[in-house]
Symmetry: C2
Subunit: 278 residues, 2 copies
C-alpha cells in the first residue's frame, strides 16, 4: 500500500473518531464547539494519526488499538496551530486557505478553543480504560511532548529566533521540540497502546526524532521559507538543507530494520513526508 | 485539626511537589519557566490541593496517595488564572498584589506558560505508575473538568455574561462549570488515587458541586462583586446570596455523613471555604 492510500484509509478512521470527540452537545457552548472544529475539519493530511497507526502496525497485529492516540495527537496538533496563529504569536490571518480561528471567532474564543482541544486530547486517551497501563504510557508520552520541555519550549525559542539570527544547531533544536516531539509521541503512544515493549518504544522514539526534523526541513523547502527566522533553508540554503533531510531519512529507515515487513507502512509514510520536497 | 492548620500542613506537601515539577532545567527555556512559576509561587491558599488530600483521607488511611492529584489540580488552577487574566479575556493587570503573567512576561509567553502548566498537570499524574487504573481514573476526572464541558465552557459563558444580564440559574451554571468542576475534580481525583469505590466517588462529586458553587458565592461576597456580570450577589443581593451559600453548605455536609469521622478535615475545609464570607 502506498503512503497516500494509507493516509486516506487511516484518515477516515481518525476523522470518524474526531467527529465523535467533537460532536454537538448541549454541554458545550455552540461558539466554543464551532471554534474547536474550525481547524480540525476538514483538516490536513492527518500525517500524525497515520504514524500512530503505522507504529502500532510495526509492533502488533492490532493497529486499530492506536485509534485513541491517533485522535489525541491530532487534537494537540490543532490546538498548537490555533495558539501559534494568535496575534501575540505569529499573527497569521489565514491557514489552509481559510481564516484562522481568532479571525473567525475572536481572540478570546481562539485561546479557549485551543485550551479545550488540549484538555480534550487527554480526555480521549483517559477514556481508553481496557488496558490502563498502556493508556497511562500513551498519556505520559503525549503530556511530555505537549509540555514545557518539548512543544511549548520549542515555540518559545522559535518566537525568540525571529529576533536573533540562530545557529543551525539552534534551529534543529527548535524543530526537534516543536515538530519532532509530537511526531515521536504519535509513534511511541500508538505503539504503547498496541502493547510494544520498551526496546521497540525506544527505537520508535529515535526514528521519530529523525523523521520529525526531516519533515520540518522538507516543509520549509516546500514553503521556500526564506523569510522565517527559524529555518535551516534560510540559513544554509536549499541544497544543504535537502541533503540534511535525506541523511536523517536514511538514519531513520535504518532504525526500522528489526521490525521487518510490518514496518512497511511506516517506511512509506516516512519517505512520503520527507520526499515531498524533492 | 482546624482548617487553617490543615491547609498549612498539606500546603507544605504540595508546595514541595510543585517545586519539583517546576524545578529549573536546561530543557525548559528560562523565561518560560519563570512565567510558569510566577503565579504558582508563592501561590494562594492551596484550597484545591487540601481538598484532594481531605477526600483521600475520607476514603482511605493513605491520604498521601493524593499528592499527584493535589499537584495537578493546582497547576490547572494556575493555568486557568493566567489565561483568564489575558488582555483578550478579563484584561487584569494585577493578581494577589503582583503584576499578572502577561504584564510581567508579555502576552505570548503568558499564553504559552498557561499551555505548559496544563500539559504539565497531566504529566505529573501520568508519572504516577504504581496503580495505573487509579491514575487513569484521576486523569479522566481532571481532563473532563479542564475541558470544553466544564472549565473552558464556563469561561466562554462567563465572558458572554458581561454583555447580557444573566438569570440566577445561568450564573449558577457558570459557577458550576468554572469553579465547582475543578473543586469536584480535586476531590474525586484525590479519592481515585486513594482507591475509593464508585459510590464514594459519586458522593464526593455531588459534595464538590455544592461546595464549589457555595465557595464562588462566598468569594463574590468577600469581593462585594457588584460590578461583575456573572455574580449572584449583584443579581439577588448579599442576603439572598448568603442564604443560598449556607443552604448549599448544609446539603454538602449531609452528603458526608456515611464517611463518619474520617471526613472531618473535609467538613472543616468546606466550612472554612464557604464561611469566610459571613
Amino acid at each position: 500500500m502506498d503512503a497516500e492510500a494509507y493516509l486516506a484509509e487511516r484518515g477516515r478512521l481518525v476523522d470518524a473518531s474526531l467527529a465523535r470527540a467533537l460532536a454537538p452537545s448541549d454541554a458545550i457552548p455552540e461558539v466554543l464547539l464551532a471554534a474547536m472544529r474550525h481547524l480540525v475539519f476538514p483538516g490536513g493530511k492527518r500525517l500524525r494519526p497515520a504514524l500512530a497507526f503505522a507504529a502500532a502496525e510495526a509492533v502488533s497485529t492490532a493497529p486499530e488499538r492506536a485509534l485513541a492516540m491517533a485522535t489525541a495527537v491530532e487534537l494537540v496538533h490543532c490546538y498548537s496551530l490555533i495558539h501559534d496563529d494568535l496575534p501575540c504569536m505569529d499573527d497569521d490571518d489565514e491557514r489552509r486557505g481559510r481564516p484562522t480561528v481568532h479571525v473567525a471567532y475572536g481572540e478570546a474564543t481562539a485561546v479557549l478553543a485551543g485550551d479545550a482541544l488540549l484538555a480534550l486530547a487527554f480526555e480521549v486517551l483517559a477514556a481508553e480504560t481496557r488496558e490502563p497501563a498502556r493508556s497511562l504510557c500513551a498519556l505520559r508520552v503525549l503530556a511530555e511532548a505537549a509540555g514545557p520541555r518539548q512543544l511549548v519550549g520549542g515555540q518559545v525559542d522559535d518566537l525568540r529566533s525571529d529576533a536573533a539570527r540562530p545557529t543551525p544547531e539552534a534551529i534543529l533544536g527548535v524543530h526537534r521540540r516543536k515538530t519532532a516531539a509530537l511526531i515521536g509521541a504519535a509513534l511511541v503512544g500508538g505503539a504503547c497502546l498496541a502493547g510494544a515493549d520498551d526496546a521497540a518504544l525506544e527505537r520508535l522514539s529515535r526514528f521519530g526524532a529523525r523523521i520529525g526534523v526531516a519533515f520540518q526541513i522538507a516543509d520549509d523547502l516546500l514553503d521556500r521559507a526564506l523569510d522565517r527566522g527559524c529555518s535551516l533553508v534560510a540559513l544554509v540554503g536549499a541544497d544543504a538543507a535537502r541533503a540534511r533531510a535525506a541523511s536523517l531519512l536514511r538514519e531513520a529507515l535504518d532504525l526500522l530494520e528489526p521490525f521487518g515487513g510490518s514496518a512497511d507502512p511506516l517506511r512509506e509514510l516516512a519517505r512520503f513526508a520527507v520526499g515531498r520536497a524533492r
